[in-house]
């Protein structure tokens, strides 16, 4: 009857969103008066999940699951959920978890709500709040099935350490029904922070005038340990690759700090980045709509402000290191 939470790792190391999900599951389990079981696949140091509120960890180690495979992962998580008799299953909103979620929902015959931003507003009936219309609104949705599946939005629930420890139990999974799929190639930049994982995102728009000026964005991102991103026109014109396009039809951003440089702030862009906690705008047009959606702004020429910002941040980082 426990709350089951799937904790995702990459090359064995838990992602921060995994700890957010365990903290969320703990908050949920407290209101349901039950315990938290975490399930994890090929992760290292799994007992640490106890620090965030897991009472038990189901530790799946399986060579067939070395590479992520949605159907196989869904089958493994389903097996853990059934074994635990879990009534609520909690996932994160990473690309891979969102891939697994709908498969899991059918396996468990569970109503599914994604992009959940807070603990349930009610547990009887079970009602959760999620972001909809690409962050332009929130919805309260009742999950009517016996088993409930929710995916917690990134950066929506704070990681909370608790005084506790988890017992670890290993589980062998059978993986009887998986399809034949060959992962032919994986290309991944390992030296760059991804938009999905980044605490800070630095983003550039048409105001930067051309791809040759992108060193400003890259240098600023480097000082801050940030990911780089861009507006839709910039990606459509081929100045920057698609994977950097953030906004309603691109990637969503839910970072702690989002710095928009030379981006006017079309409604689609603002929707895509609105889940970021603090937004800074640098733009020479004081009428740019982004100023209405930002927390801090500087009206001025990016080509003067950004180099100065880079230099002063370097000095600031050196002082505060």
């Amino acid at each position: 009857m426990s709350v089951l939470v799937y904790t995702e790792s990459e090359e064995g190391v838990f992602k921060k969103t995994a700890f957010e999900a365990v903290s969320y599951a703990k908050g949920l389990a407290d209101s349901l008066n039950t315990t938290v079981t975490a399930v994890t696949i090929n992760s290292k140091d799994v007992a640490q999940l106890g620090k965030y509120g897991a009472n038990k960890v189901i530790d799946i180690q399986n060579d067939a699951l070395q590479k992520f495979r949605a159907d196989a992962y869904a089958e493994a998580i389903t097996e853990a959920a059934k074994k635990e008799g879990a009534k609520v299953v909690v996932l994160t909103s990473t690309t891979n978890s969102k891939y697994v979620a709908p498969l899991l929902a059918v396996d468990l015959d569970a109503g599914f709500v994604s992009n959940v931003v807070d603990l349930p507003t009610s547990t009887k009936p079970f009602v959760v709040k999620s972001s909809v219309f690409s962050n332009k609104a929130f919805a309260e949705t009742e999950i009517k099935t016996d088993v409930k599946l929710i995916a917690v939005a990134k950066n929506a629930y704070q990681v909370k350490e608790v005084d506790g420890s988890a017992e670890v139990e290993s589980l062998d999974v059978s993986l009887a029904n998986i399809k034949d799929v060959e992962v032919a190639d994986i290309e991944k930049s390992t030296d760059k922070v991804t938009i999905a994982d980044a605490e800070i995102v630095v983003s550039g728009g048409r105001g930067l005038k051309g791809p040759e000026n992108w060193h400003l964005i890259e240098d600023l991102a480097e000082v801050l340990g940030a990911a780089t991103a861009c507006s839709k026109p910039v990606s459509d014109m081929g100045w920057r690759p698609h994977e950097e396009h953030v906004g309603q039809t691109g990637k969503p951003v839910a970072s702690n700090l989002y710095i928009a440089i030379g981006i006017s702030g079309a409604i689609q862009h603002l929707a895509g980045v609105s889940a970021s906690k603090v937004k800074v705008v640098i733009n020479n047009d004081p009428e740019a709509p982004f100023f209405k959606a930002a927390d801090y702004g500087i009206v001025g020429d990016a080509f003067e402000i950004v180099p100065e910002l880079i230099e002063k941040l370097k000095a600031f980082k050196a002082e505060n290191a």
Binding site: P102, S114, E142, A184, T190, Q248, T249, N256
Partner: protein, 246 residues
């Protein structure tokens, strides 16, 4: 090859979102509806398979008669036939059940739709369909080639891409990249005229309960005023001491 493209009828990306009936209903007044952008990228890729590889392309939607102009637009872009399942789309699970029932009869080799719709952002219909039909499933797909019975798909992963080889039948959740923005087609007059004559069949829904029910909407809290600063030093100070994000 028979392809089924799932089409969501959604508010245009520029729409301001308002609610009526004490915040329980999405207010559609003054809203322009379009093919969900992620679905349109997929439809455009399906057109490529039709033109280069002789595929047949059907489009499907779950919704009332008000969604038909969106299906007609898909026909004008070039789909051969449209199917509308005549019931309100209440949640992703029930929509997937409705489409699965039709797809089972249709014998499709490829079922393709956006990785998520831009209205409810559930991101669940393609995956659920795959599971219900026992098809393979590729999500966040940004490149798709089909050769005989073999599909080679590139999908976006956090921080990179992954290329997968698998067999048909397959369900694909696609997004921008499966075709480029510049590949999208605006229907021409000939396409619009032809679309009027193409079959649009209306099917009765099966009995499928929804698993979730949205009871209330809320607009985001109004944003406080922006704090304009004049110097970079002031900005750094505020981000460090006030917002505590650096």
């Amino acid at each position: 090859m028979k392809i089924l493209v799932c089409i969501s009828h959604v508010p245009d990306t520029t729409s301001r979102i308002n609610f009526s009936d004490n915040n329980t209903k999405f207010d559609t007044s003054g809203v322009q509806f379009v093919i969900n952008p992620n679905d349109e990228f997929c439809l455009t890729r399906a057109m490529w398979f039709k033109e280069k590889q002789g595929a047949t392309v059907h489009v499907i939607n779950v919704g009332g008669p008000e969604t038909e102009p969106t299906l007609r637009k898909a026909l004008a872009i070039g789909a051969d036939e449209a199917i509308r399942i005549n019931t309100e789309a209440t949640d992703g699970y029930s929509v997937a059940k409705q489409i699965a029932a039709v797809a089972k009869e249709g014998g499709y080799d490829l079922i393709i739709g956006g990785r998520e719709s831009i209205d409810y952002n559930g991101g669940m219909v393609p995956g659920m369909l795959a599971k219900m039909l026992n098809y393979g499933f590729i999500n966040t797909c940004i490149g798709l080639e089909i050769d005989g019975n073999t599909a080679t798909a590139t999908r976006e992963i956090d921080g990179g891409t992954e290329t997968i080889k698998t067999e048909l039948p397959l369900v694909v959740g696609g997004q921008k990249g499966i075709v480029e923005e510049s590949d999208l087609r605006i229907p021409n007059m000939r396409g619009i005229m032809q679309a009027r004559k193409k079959p649009l069949s209306v099917k009765d829904p099966i009995d499928a309960n929804s698993a979730t029910q949205t009871t209330k909407f809320e607009e985001p809290a109004p944003k406080g005023d922006v704090k304009l600063v004049n110097t970079v030093d002031e900005l750094i100070d505020l981000l460090h001491n006030d917002a505590k994000v650096i």
